[in-house]
Symmetry: C2
Subunit: 401 residues, 2 copies
């Protein structure tokens, strides 16, 4: 008889595993807070302080905390709640206003890195499939990092921010399509055009249906989250919507954060948006540090002691920064010099998206261990480079928008 399927050591009270995971959560939040405070004092972006804190407590330096599966989930929720917050601050009309420019930024900011990455890999003698993955790994901007910097600077409601957010959504759809193409070629040897079209249709339908439909629905019934049946507080229905849309977005192959962003935009249409913001604030304070510290935990600094890796890393990072900046900047020029500069810089961070692409390439056997490491390093370096550059670009441009 196997009566009750309770795991043998259910860690709900005085048992070992509990202490372990609680210490890890405690360590991450404490390190994040210290890194945050330190970087606030020296006037640098606090998220860089949190990433560096992750490096210090991680396996690279002190080895106090390991980037296990549970911390990964908290990191994921961190970027989900970050983009939910960003969505709360964004009105559909804001995005529409910059729609044309954002679309061009997304497309051109995808094409130039893709072609340059593919060409560079080909030139260094990589196979067609491998070159395709290198190109694909340069495509998608991780908007989490840029969003955090924009929030820190109080610039989330500027035209620059709206353009970056709009472009990042388009950019993510395009990255997903290219990933599907690259994976098809790497594993099947060809591309199933029908399935690619279906993938595109589902992604576009999700964004349009949820983005337009959801916001309109809420705009028509602005008290939908305050219905008497949600007596105490409208927070949990909104959080449930956020997690549900994030899950669906991830399920259909988009980044989960796209779903969270759309959920935030939907909730933003309700009458009591301020109340939501106040209530979401603590979740926004609690989860995102896990995202930034986890990036730091995942870095093995010692790996960069190898000369050839360092050279490849430097080359790919420069390529990633220059090509994404160029593509986005050219497309954003109608916004004026200053804003175009800020949009170009804001699109630079690849964050987790480049790592995912490389990981899928590595699983398919198309990306070698060396190349995987270089792509991961590039993703992290673009992430570290963007915040100071963006601060400078926004400072130079003055308040825009």
């Amino acid at each position: 008889m196997d009566a009750l399927r309770i795991l043998p050591s259910i860690p709900l009270a005085s048992a070992g595993p509990t202490a372990g995971i609680l210490f890890a959560l405690f360590g991450v939040l404490l390190a994040a807070k210290l890194g945050d405070e330190l970087f606030k004092r020296i006037g640098q972006p606090t998220l860089i302080g949190e990433i560096l804190a992750g490096i210090v407590i991680g396996p690279s330096v002190l080895g106090l905390v390991d980037p296990g599966e549970t911390l990964q989930v908290f990191a994921e929720l961190g970027v989900v709640f970050l983009l939910f917050w960003v969505g709360l601050e964004t009105r559909l009309s804001d995005i529409r206003e910059v729609g044309g420019v954002a679309t061009r930024v997304g497309v051109l900011g995808m094409l130039i890195p893709l072609i340059a990455g593919f060409g560079a890999a080909k030139a260094f003698g990589d196979s067609f499939e491998t070159s395709l993955f290198v190109g694909a790994s340069l495509v998608a901007t991780s908007v989490g990092i840029t969003s955090a910097v924009l929030i820190g600077l109080g610039a989330l409601k500027t035209r620059v921010a709206r353009t970056i957010l709009g472009a990042a959504v388009i950019d993510d759809i395009l990255a997903m399509v290219f990933l599907a193409i690259a994976t098809g070629i790497a594993t099947e040897g060809n591309v199933d055009v029908t399935s690619i079209v279906v993938v595109i249709a589902i992604a576009v339908a999700f964004v349009v249906f949820v983005g337009l439909g959801g916001t309109r629905l809420v705009a028509r019934w602005p008290r939908i989250f305050h219905a008497p049946r949600f007596a105490q507080s409208p927070l949990m229905p909104a959080v449930i919507l956020c997690l549900g849309l994030a899950a669906v977005a991830a399920e259909i192959g988009l980044a989960a954060i796209i779903g969270a962003f759309l959920a935030g935009m939907i909730v933003a249409e309700t009458r009591n948006r301020d109340e939501f913001e106040r209530e979401v604030q603590p979740l926004y304070a609690f989860f995102p540090p896990f995202f930034f510290v986890f990036i730091g935990l995942s870095i093995d600094v010692a790996a960069f002691a190898d000369g050839s890796v360092l050279a490849a890393l430097a080359g790919l990072t420069v390529l990633a920064i220059v090509t994404k900046f160029l593509g986005a900047w050219i497309a954003a020029r109608p916004l004026g010099r200053h804003d175009a500069l800020a949009v170009g810089v804001g699109m630079i961070p690849r964050g987790e998206v480049g790592i995912i692409v490389a990981g899928i390439g590595a699983t398919s056997g198309v990306i070698s261990n060396d190349l995987f490491a270089v792509i991961v390093g590039m993703s992290i370096l673009t992430t570290l480079a963007a915040p100071p550059l963006l601060r400078r670009a926004l400072a130079r441009g003055g308040p825009a928008g």
Copy 2:
């Protein structure tokens, strides 16, 4: 070259695992919300609705969500934030006021179930070691359930609530000591008195040092969490303290929730307690549903189809309820008939603590699979039985304290 230790499929963006865990979190919160609303409408304790929602979506019925490791961590954080909240509502002076009665409730509410459980198991032919574990599994009250009911009834600041909270802390220390004794006998054949004394000393030192020292420290510097260095908000330092003390409590063998409760009591001494409560509220809304739904997810209803299991379960459950009630009620009689009744009923739920004890016994080979299932079932049934009984007892007693 193994450059960057990133897990192969880092689930930070468009990858499978992300969608899976996001759907699980979404499903748990949605089910909890539905169960909660339904039970509010029919006038029953909402946490029972959440536990039943867990049974429905869990492997027993629909099989939509599995009680995996990540959900366990969220469940653990759920009860941690629940007790942190309870601590926030509790002043040290409140506990002191009922200190004598609470101590007697803790001791007598431990002794009677221990002796009865040991005797019953012996009478049914179990070995000395096994009987010791059965007795130990009946000892500790899980204060999470009772706390949630008290919060729901707005009765957290009554004398009954304070007595239960104080008794639960003492009770948990005693349970830990008995668990150490039982484990020593089961694995070594004898008890190392020195190590037991050390265990007791550490536990008592932790509770006294943290409880008295921490609250006094904060009472002396009531703005310690509002120091200019924690500019934006005092929430995260308080949450970090909560997780740290919970981890230490778990590490020294106490329940993590004891640490969280003490952390709440410490924070409660600051000047801006209301601010804290408002800021902790969303975390308190987000995490505890995972605790209650997880209990439901862990139940395999089909197991109770077996007649002999059902009989043993019924017997042990009645024994657990009657003996704990008796011990607590006798000790609480100085509080008057009505309050004594409520304290006795409030101490009934064993929740996760009984399951832990049984799990350790099963690992030591002293508790059979059958007996393990029965103890787990007893823990859950006491948990389900307490809320309606406690509501009735409190209603009968009228406002006390």
